[in-house]
């Protein structure tokens, strides 16, 4: 077992884990943060995207021990004092989700896009989402939601 400590959604956490534990397993099984999902086993689908020190990463492609000392933000940490993050609100307003399974990864990925590019075009949004699969929405409303979310984030 290996001891690993990190900050998750502002809380310091320390756990003993098997060295092969993935970050997503750590979040889901050790911390019960089940909003981060696993949709594939080849790092393609992006349902597990979280922020690691402010950058989006696929939590299925990192070991928990690689995140020693890092700051991790998951979908559960976005809303502050019951107030939705503008990107969360935009997904709801623009019907950017159906079954909801890809949604946490989409939102976390979208926020990182806007951090890089405050006012992305539709083409830039579609290109950015190459690492996030959705089977329900045809991406149409996800693209609209991200555009609106970017605008309300101040882009």
């Amino acid at each position: 077992m290996a001891k690993v400590s990190m900050t998750v959604n502002g809380q310091n956490v320390t756990r003993d884990v098997e060295p092969r534990t993935l970050l997503v397993e750590f979040l889901r099984q050790h911390l019960d943060l089940t909003g981060t999902h696993v949709g594939c086993d080849t790092s393609q689908c992006g349902a597990c995207v979280v922020h690691l020190d402010g950058r989006s990463v696929k939590a299925c492609t990192m070991l928990a021990v690689q995140c020693e000392g890092a700051k991790v933000m998951t979908i559960e940490g976005l809303a502050q004092n019951g107030e939705l993050h503008p990107m969360q609100a935009a997904f709801r307003e623009h019907h950017g989700l159906q079954c909801g399974f890809c949604t946490p990864g989409m939102i976390m990925s979208a926020i990182d896009l806007v951090q890089h590019n405050p006012s992305p075009s539709e083409d830039e949004i579609r290109h950015w989402l190459e690492g996030n699969l959705c089977r329900c929405t045809g991406y149409h409303n996800i693209v609209k939601a991200i555009k609106a979310g970017a605008a309300s984030m101040g882009g």
């Binding site: 098997e18 092969r20 889901r28 943060l33 089940t34 909003g35 981060t36 999902h37 696993v38 949709g39 594939c40 086993d41 080849t42 393609q44 689908c45 349902a47 998951t74 979908i75 559960e76 976005l78 809303a79 939705l84 969360q88 997904f91 709801r92 307003e93 019907h95 989700l97 159906q98 079954c99 909801g100 399974f101 890809c102 949604t103 946490p104 939102i107 539709e122 083409d123 949004i125 579609r126 290109h127 989402l129 190459e130 996030n132 699969l133 959705c134 089977r135 329900c136 929405t137 045809g138 991406y139 149409h140 409303n141 996800i142 693209v143």
Partner: protein, 789 residues
Amino acid sequence: MAENGIGASVRRKEDYRFITGGGQYVDDINRPGQAYAYFLRSPHAHAAIRGIDASQALAAPGVLAVLTGDDVKAAGWGGLICGWMVKSKDGSDMKAGPHPILCQGKARYVGDPVAMVVAETYLQAKDAAELVEVDYDVLPACVATDKADQPGQPQVHDGIANNAVYNWELGDKAAVDAAIAAAAHVTKLDFVNNRLVPNAMEPRAAIGDYDRASNGFTLHTTSQNPHVARLVISAFVGVAPEHKLRVIAPDVGGGFGSKIFIYNEECACLLASRMVRRPVKWTAERSESFVSDAHGRDHVTHAELAMDRDGRFTALRVHTKANMGAYLSTFASCVPTYLYATLLAGQYKTPAIYCEVDAVYTNTTPVDAYRGAGRPEATFLLETIVETAAKELGVDPAELRRRNFIEPSAFPYQTPVALVYDIGNYGAHLDKALELADYAGFAGRRAKSEARGKLRGVGFSCYIEACGIAPSAVVGSLGAGVGLWESAKIRFTHTGVCQVLTGTHTHGQGHETTFAQLIADKLGVPIDNVEVVHGDTDKTPVGMGTYGSRSLAVGGQAIVNAAEKIIAKGKKIAAHLLEAAEADIEFQNGSFTVKGTDRSKSLGEVVFEAYVPHHIPQGLVEPGMEETAFYDPANFTYPSGTYICEVEVDQDTGVVEIDRFVAVDDFGKVINPMIVEGQVHGGLAQGIGQALIEGCVYDEAGQLLSASYMDYCMPRADGLPDFQIATTETPCTHNTLGVKGCGEAGAIGSPPAVMNAITDAIGVRVSMPATPEKVWRALQNRQMPQAAE
């Protein structure tokens, strides 16, 4: 219109939990003391299993049990069943080979579960599975759909000759043969409808939980229809009587058909739980999903469309081979028959249609319903052959269709393939689509593309679908093992909260919102006071679940009927409280009013009186306010639409870019336009995926080569256009809501529109998926003779 009632694009009630990480899918649930399962699957498409040695695995750290087919047999449990009996044209029953929970003596496809390892942790179970030694005697595999029933092919099931499941027919063969013989023109085409993997983003999962005290089970599973799962697992697998089996499907992360079916793994988790006396959880890895979720489509077809001198269709003759995979999945048999051949009239008044279907076994993953289920295959065939006929006749494809449309005055319309369409106006959506797509400007755009060295094409699809499945007596006469009615219970509490318990289930369609809108509209209850309850056999009335775009047209109507009963009871109470005759009470906007007066009681007051009946004389009504309705539809519903796709093809790379996609649908009345548009978007993406990039590839040994997201091409955001969506409306005539259903239309209508556009652009037909390589090769072959000139 009531606030947030019918017709309002209400933002979804369910979204808050999904956007904050609060959704609860099966894999998010953990039961106290839970153990984990891993399935060892056959790496061979066809192999005799000479023996299984699990001794090393059993000795591995954390391992609690290793189950094989022998354990299932010892428990006295049966196998999985196909719930729809299709008879061959000679009257004989379809040939259903046994479908064991865990392989018994033979593996019949890559992924067939051979053994199940149960351990303290998932990784321990997975590690130990590598220590299970299976002695396989590898056999030649039968793989190709078109060759499966030919002599000399490996036999998938003992005693089922030529892998033939059934040889089924529909229609008047003699009339069709005569019409084709007498036709002025016959268009003939061969089709392959490519095999697809549904790929719901949430992988399947199950938790089996045996309770010693009650000798009963709870199954958490990823299901579109928990009651059907309970029925099959209880009555056919024989796990426990129905009242000893509770099936819970919490949030379901997409299904598209693949979560209708009853699967091996959920049954095995129940058995393992009873054996180790702990809850047993299994979650599929995506690589398992690819080989073990039922696939879709996989038809090989020859079709002939006959017409007279004026281009009026006189007959359609179709022969299809349908691949069922290695076992008959839950509803597999009805997909290429009653959900396929019955749709071959499309929007046209073709007087004679005949369809013959040979269903075959192969050593591949079972094939069953996938978004549209039979109807996309019918639409692809029909709309491709009609467009080809238009080209051959030199008639505009829109004009040829219009010439053959069933006119609005002809409804109800009896097709030659069993269905009676209740209503439609096909010209209306064709006109609207032509306008939205700026069809008149196409020639100009094509010239501009050519000037840039690109090829531009336009393609049509005028689809029909039969949904709102289905009148029980009709489907019963066709072989269905169940009735396809739906149930609803409306329960008010003392304080006026309204619970709607429905037998349908949602896997992304937004039922919690749409059904609340029905209540807001019919009963005047604010949607925030409505709670929709579904997905738990212990909570809801028995219901048939969600598939075939049935939830609103059938389940929604059951809710409305239950609401009518609430109103009827409320009128009795209100009449007493208002000292008026019951016949003089009107109900509107949540209030019971004495006609022609301002004397009224709100629904909340009446509900409170029903629960606190201090002023109700004995015998007037029973206390309480809870009503149940079961609704069996009188007919299928028939959404229809026109899709127009315009593509631009890069001649150097073969890449097809969709320049515009217009979808005009007639779904009857629309409850929530925002949700309906979303359903269309998703369907279009799946249909365009089938047309351009998706497809299963098996090698000759039966290995699925496209078994991960590295190999199976999924639609991504940058490969899809911004869709142009619109609706026309002819309300369904046989439900009071006037609704038809919208879940599958996009996937049904879009593949032929895309493929017709590509054919129009490059001048030759290619098969789906029209990958850049295929298109490029077609262009090279097309250009070679020109180069030689």
